[in-house]
Amino acid sequence: MILIAVAISVCASSFGQAIKGTIKDSTGLGIPNASINLRSQGVIVAYTATDTGGAYTLHPPSGLTPNDLALEVRCIGYQEQTIPVRALPATIDCTLAMSASELAPLVIRDNRPVLHSHGDTLDYKVTDFRSVQDRVIGDVIKRLPGISVTSDGTIYYNGRAISGVYIGGDNLLDDNYSIATTSVPADKVDKVQVIDNIQPIKVLQNKVNTNDVALNLVMNKTARLHVMGQESIGAGLPGNYDADLKAMAFKNDYKAINYLEGNNTGYDLRQELVSHNASAGQQRLGADIPTPLLSLGAANDPALSRQRYLFDRSGMLNANDLVDLRHDWQLRLNAWNLRDRERQDYSQVTSTYLPGDTVRYAGTQHNQLNSGWLRAQFTATLNSSTCYLNNVTLVNDNRWTDYSHVNTNGSPMDQALRDNALGFSNEFNWMRTVESDHIIQAYSYVSRMTEPETRSIGPSYNDSLFNHGAPYAQLIQTVDVPTWYTNDYVSFKVPGDVMTRSFRAGFSEQSQMLTSNLNAAFDSAANNLSWEKKKAYAEAAFDIVGQKLRATLTLPFTYQQLHYADPGYALDKKLTRCYFNPELIGKYKAGPENFVTFRYGYRNQTGSIEDVYQGYLLKDYRTLSANSPDLTLRQNQEAATGYYYRKAMRLFFWSLSLAYNRIGANNIASDIITDSYQRLVMLPFRNHTDSWTVDGTISKYSFALQTTFSGEVRWQDNRSIQFQNGALLPFNTTVSVLNLGMETKWSDPLRFSYRVTGTRTASTTRIDQWLQQSTIFYNPKPDLQFKLSGEYYYTHSGANPDLNYFFADASLRYHCTKRNIDWELDATNILDVRTYKAVTLVANTFTASSYALPGRIILLKIVFTL
């Protein structure tokens, strides 16, 4: 039936690189007017048609490599054929079999989404995916096939976290991109572009690899011409308000997102300020940012979306402005001032399962957290093809004053915590190309940070331990770790045809002083620890920037001198070490739209000042912590690989990744847990932690059903050991997550979305949690929109009673075209759920908590577009 005779013969043709031949049908007659297409990496690069006798001659463009060429023969009424071309010139004859259908069967439907790919860029046309109810671009990004957004706003493209969101090609926000996704109006964006392997530094383009993937918002014409304003005011019951005033510009030479907003409806303004790549940024600076040492010992936040449980009153002024000057210069300001007052009413029972014993704490907490956060960053950038300069100056002032009334195992107490973090830093980075295309670089980073913390507990808290059993007024813990840090280097890069070689030499210095005092009646309650860490390093790096393979091998050698001393404990230690921390990162393009990534890294990590203080620190009212004088040294090995597949034209994406991490350490944390407190000491004992992660994601848009289906499976296994009450215990925690979702458009006025997330946490016991979320969008008229959504939480853990929670929300929006005003009526938590109970499991600690919730809120809002 099907007679296919393919004859490929290579002959030295007088035609240069031409491909010629004859196309015949099964009776041997030449087929006229058949399409002959030459494809390279899947795209047509040359084409012709057969003449009346079925003969053709095709002249391919120069510069093609024969091994990925294919000749495609198509003619209506015949079955198409694809023949690999192994050499040029070639003579390719071919016989086509008759086909019953005259045109390839096509599933036909109108107005379907268009996805446009060119090179490393993929374009989503916003109008194809946007629903009229999507106000801001973040709402649209959530429903794009291939893209997923976590609850904290982090955006993943086909399983990989993005590095940033650019606006019109400009970096306005670094990794604080939630500011853009929660404020840029969806109807002002023309396209959302995904740019893979983005290298924003022009000097390094095509010379130094990045594996970053970023989004770029291409604004439409009206947005590029006018400054936009939007104001909304809302008031509701019981005593709620919500207001914001926005001014935005997306011109070619000026971009701005400035706003003032405030509410007490539980919408957390901090979620707009999340730094989504904080750890990568920290690694680039090479700095260990000191973390707060004291806390109120408050219960963990419930695993609900934040708006469901937050009692707060907050306001923020946020200014982000970027000006394009002439000659490739840009100036940028990012500043915010946030004021927040939060209230928490929690009760909690914590059980720690020890061999032969179970330790329990029960308590209630009434907390009030007051914070003021002022942060200002000024950036000046020169980015041209020969020179790059970037200077970032940052001032950060974050103050907390928190109060807590605690009742633990029947004894009441009051706590107050003051924490004033103040920081300043400057990062300078300069590069330029010098003769014969070499690149020189100078880099300097300086920072200064202090964070004085004071916490008082009273009255007579645990007097048997802290005051020889006599009543006393207050227990006061103070601590501060002022830190100086600098990191400076020069580098030299030699770009080549296949490889760019980079050489770097520099030094870093960290100088810290930990002072703490606890006014308790026992010894070892104060610290005066000084810390000096100096490093000198030299590094060679090799970047392969090939068509198929991109890889970076980094070989740094570090000489480190460490000196820490505390006269109060006769501690004076010096440590000199040499380290070698190699890293290999690579990406192999297996096809035009799929690739494999791999990564291996070995890092020596020295503990920080927080690992060597010897005087006791009361970290929270239940945890007393101290360390052995020996420094914790860790060896961190990471290996990861992933396969990423995309078929943009079918809107189909999937990925599979595997990661292994092993951390070896010479010290181990030893807990002594009693009914009233927990004492934490570091002991010299060699141990390691292993963790495995397997993650698979899939996303597909069905043209027939007008639906995006998405799914994710993640499995994570952690194994470590810990000392508890003198016994060495293994800790194995396995977390499995299954996530399925769909976004469908039933008809123009009706849309529906559904998502289910199942999480199983297994350790000494097991907790199963299911979260189902669904939303119906109904737009009976263009100016009238209705939304109804429900969230169902189900928790099952062993013999405990199952927990079931259902939350329902609704909103109605009416657009008054005449005055360009929107009226919006929102009802949150319609069923008025007032308490939420949850169970969590971390290693062998099982916690059952109960949280007060704000209950039903009804809010009427007016939105003016200016």
Partner: protein, 261 residues
């Protein structure tokens, strides 16, 4: 008038076209946009168009629905017919294998048929790909009739045709636009056409591009003279026609621009 008479007389009425009938297999819909008047860029001309694709030929025409007729009896006993036309009347038939383009155009009451060679276009194929309504397409650019066009063609529909006069790529052109965004053929879906043969009108007056342009000009400037001419031509062939065309749109930016070199 005197000049036009021999011109009209020289026109020969044709019967059925010599083409073998070809059935439409698939149809591409376009939203056509044309900035006819550059002083009013905000008010471009728009029309829904369709390209019927057969196995050897295709036709590109308006998809605005048929003309509507309203018949009313006047008190004096005569009948009055009001016709409302939607969209344009021109139809482009492309026969890529014969490299032939047949344009069927219309001046009230008469259809004209103009046969020409398909314009040979020097396309530059790009590597960009995109999907339009599930059709996998590739980008190409060319300079055609005074404008720089970017088009997207679908190799899965291997007939070398497209909307208007665009043709010659190894697949049907499903979207096209010029660099100034003054002429756009925007993809608006794929549909299965009803049983339709791709056949130029059986009855029509064969003419040339130039003569047709002259007639059109006459009909616009001197409708009375034109209707007399046509009446003479269609002797005893129908009712007396009284054509009153509207003032007509301002076209200072035609699709085909003269080439300046």
């Amino acid at each position: 008038m005197k000049l036009l008479l021999p011109l009209v007389l020289s026109l020969a009425a044709v019967s059925a076209s010599a083409q073998r009938p070809d059935a439409a297999r698939i149809a591409i819909r376009y939203k056509f946009l044309h900035v006819r008047d550059t002083t009013h860029r905000d008010r471009p001309y728009t029309e829904n168009m369709i390209l019927l694709v057969g196995s050897t030929s295709g036709v590109y025409k308006s998809n605005e629905g048929p003309a509507q007729q309203q018949v009313s009896n006047n008190p004096d006993g005569t009948t009055r017919t009001n016709m409302h036309f939607f969209g344009t009347h021109v139809e482009y038939y492309q026969f890529p294998h014969e490299k032939k383009l047949i344009r069927a155009d219309w001046i009230p009451m008469t259809t004209f048929i103009i046969t020409d060679a398909l314009p040979a276009i020097d396309w530059h194929i790009m590597k960009d790909t995109a999907s339009f309504g599930g059709l996998h397409c590739q980008k190409a650019t060319a300079h055609v009739k005074g404008r720089d066009y970017t088009v997207w063609f679908c190799p899965d529909l291997p007939l070398h045709i497209g909307p208007w006069k665009l043709n010659g790529l190894p697949g049907v052109i499903v979207e096209a636009y010029d660099a100034k965004n003054e002429v756009r053929f925007t993809f608006d879906g794929v549909v299965t056409p009803a049983q339709t043969a791709i056949l130029p009108p059986a009855k029509g007056v064969k003419t040339t591009d130039k003569d047709f342009a002259n007639l059109q000009e006459t009909a616009r400037k001197d409708p009375e003279a034109y209707s007399k001419l046509m009446a003479q031509y269609n002797v005893g062939n129908g009712p007396k026609v009284d054509i009153k065309p509207g003032s007509g749109p301002v076209i200072n930016n035609p699709i085909e621009l003269p080439e300046y070199k």
